[in-house]
Symmetry: C2
Subunit: 192 residues, 2 copies
């Protein structure tokens, strides 16, 4: 690990998966969160939504920075199927509809990130293509009976049964699909 | 999940990662292990080594099958760098040499599997390409100071720091790199 030990990383995200990934990667951090309304211009190209929202969250959480050696990390993941953004499903019906769109199809996960200190800001995004096998309605219902993917963009967790058993290929990184492109975060912090 | 509930899966592997993946995927199983000597013909093409060894392990563990509804699962993972097989590193020196080969390079992980009952046998393999960033000697030494990848083919765990922070892309599935192509196992069991 080649991150300056004087640097103090502040994760401004409530996602347990982002905390888990940083912990697994052995990158020290503290969680401090702020509520930021996630709005973006209607005409923003879909690939730019996630990094735009990550930057917006960093602006909204900037007051959390206390010391000069602190670096804020924010992130936002979006799922794009056939060029259209799918968010967190509001209810079971929407989760079923999303999973039917994922079935036998490829989609793209974009996780935008923002690293921001009092002196510097870096915005970047990880992009991963994900390929699902055909899902039967029985499988979709079984997944929703046994899991509650309502806090997840695209209505699935890649670490859940449906991700492990029904994804036949990804192109990009797995942590990026879980919610954080750890490789890109590490690369930026190494040269911070 | 569409696996016949009467089917009883017996995992004949000591790998904690294979147990972990089946547990995460919610596929019920029991562990029973046998010791099998892992030998293969010198002239076997490298892509065939893992499925060959999985089948060999299934033959050696066949006596563990007690009932007609039991299905044995064995697996073997090999790491191929520049067309050459890299096994589990015997010592730190070999781990350093392997990690230096992985650095800034792509490699292939082949996990061969065998499913075997008293009536039927299926042999198959998952193939994933993995792309590592350049690793400095400082990073290699830090990884080996903080982890002990001596039970892992290729001297790394994709779920460790080095996998999370230094892999910039995979093509294929992540569980296959961890040790089991869960998607292929599920597909076979669904149609068993």
């Amino acid at each position: 690990m080649q991150i300056d030990p004087n640097l103090s990383l502040i994760l401004a995200s409530k996602s347990p998966r982002r905390s888990y990934l940083l912990e697994q990667a052995g990158i020290p951090f503290t969680v401090r969160t702020a509520d930021v309304e996630e709005v973006y211009p209607d005409d923003l190209p879909v690939m730019e939504i996630a990094p735009y929202l990550a930057a917006l969250k960093a602006t909204g959480a900037f007051h959390l920075l206390e010391k000069d050696n602190e670096v804020l990390l924010t992130a936002d993941s979006v799922v794009l199927i056939d060029g259209k953004k799918y968010g967190k499903p509001k209810d079971r019906e929407m989760a079923v509809a999303t999973l039917r769109k994922l079935s036998g199809n490829e989609h793209t996960v974009v996780t935008g990130c923002c690293l921001k200190s009092k002196f510097k800001e870096r915005i970047f995004a990880g992009v991963t293509k994900v390929f699902f096998n055909k899902l039967s309605d029985e499988e979709i219902n079984w997944y929703l009976d046994t899991s509650a993917p309502y806090d997840k963009a695209g209505a699935y967790g890649i670490q859940d049964w449906v991700g492990l058993a029904c994804i036949n290929r990804i192109e990009g990184t797995y942590p990026n699909v879980m919610g954080l492109p750890v490789d890109l975060v590490y690369k930026e912090l190494k040269h911070w």
